[in-house]
């Protein structure tokens, strides 16, 4: 019985598997973290814009777009995010915002996230007299 050979291919395969797993875990982690950050930006951007674009509880699209743009340029949390696409629309008295972006240098290692899209909506409502204290 001649049992000759090398375990080098086995070690190389194992190292490749390790690297693949590490990259996979990092990519999933980055996407989760970036998703949280971008969802926060979208949530607060739509609140900010809706508050400033409504007249008697009904938003106007041009105002909404302008105020979203103002929030994204002024809020410090949006500075680490490369905004790729912003879409605003109105359905009745509801304002909607969808932002697609990449979070840059998330864990401080120079790696950006994949493109992540998040959406939020806002609506004005009137408090019942019993709750508003009127």
């Amino acid at each position: 019985m001649n049992d000759q050979g090398s375990i080098t291919p086995l070690i190389a395969s194992y190292l490749a598997l390790m690297l693949l797993t590490a990259f996979g875990v990092t990519a999933v982690g980055l996407a989760m973290v970036a998703g949280n950050r971008i969802q926060g930006i979208v949530d607060y951007a739509i609140l900010y814009a809706h508050d400033r674009s409504t007249l008697a509880g009904v938003p106007t699209l041009t105002e909404l777009e302008r105020e979203v743009s103002h929030f994204l340029s002024g809020a410090q949390s949006a500075r680490g995010v490369e905004i790729v696409n912003v879409r605003t629309w109105i359905e009745g008295d509801e304002s909607h915002l969808r932002i697609c972006g990449r979070h840059q240098d998330l864990l401080g290692v120079g790696i950006g996230s994949v493109l992540i899209c998040k959406e939020a909506a806002a609506k004005s409502y009137e408090l019942p007299r019993s709750l508003s204290g009127a």
Binding site: A22, G40, I41, G74, S77, L107
Partner: protein, 118 residues
């Protein structure tokens, strides 16, 4: 013709080598898990803490006094130790920005909200 064995090398040595290779990634993977976990916790704490601070401004309270205990509770719910935080609202005037920066471990999260205009 008799069978002849020509296997060379040491099986225990190969076993030790392979085990070392298999155990090697545990340290870096645990480190990576901690970094990602800290960052996720920081992002969540910042989002919910800012919401709390935002509502306390609406109620006419001082958000700087209110947000600290809330952040501690949020950090406890994640099982994390809150590093430090800063809340900046430049006088907390109506229409201004409210900025919350939270540190958990080595992770820093930052969220901004606009205060309601008059």
């Amino acid at each position: 013709m008799p069978l002849k064995s020509e296997s060379e090398g040491s099986a225990p040595l190969e076993l030790v080598g392979l085990l070392a290779l298999m155990l090697l990634p545990i340290g870096p993977m645990l480190g990576l898990f901690t970094v990602v976990s800290d960052q996720l916790a920081a992002e969540s704490i910042a989002r919910h803490g800012l919401r709390y601070a935002f509502l306390s401004v609406e109620l006419g309270e001082n958000p700087r006094q209110q947000v600290g205990p809330a952040l501690e509770i949020l950090a406890q719910s994640w099982g994390k130790q809150l590093g430090d935080y800063s809340l900046d609202c430049t006088g907390c005037l109506a229409g201004g920005f409210l900025e919350l920066r939270v540190r958990v471990g080595s992770a820093v999260a930052h969220q901004s909200a606009g205060l309601e205009p008059n």
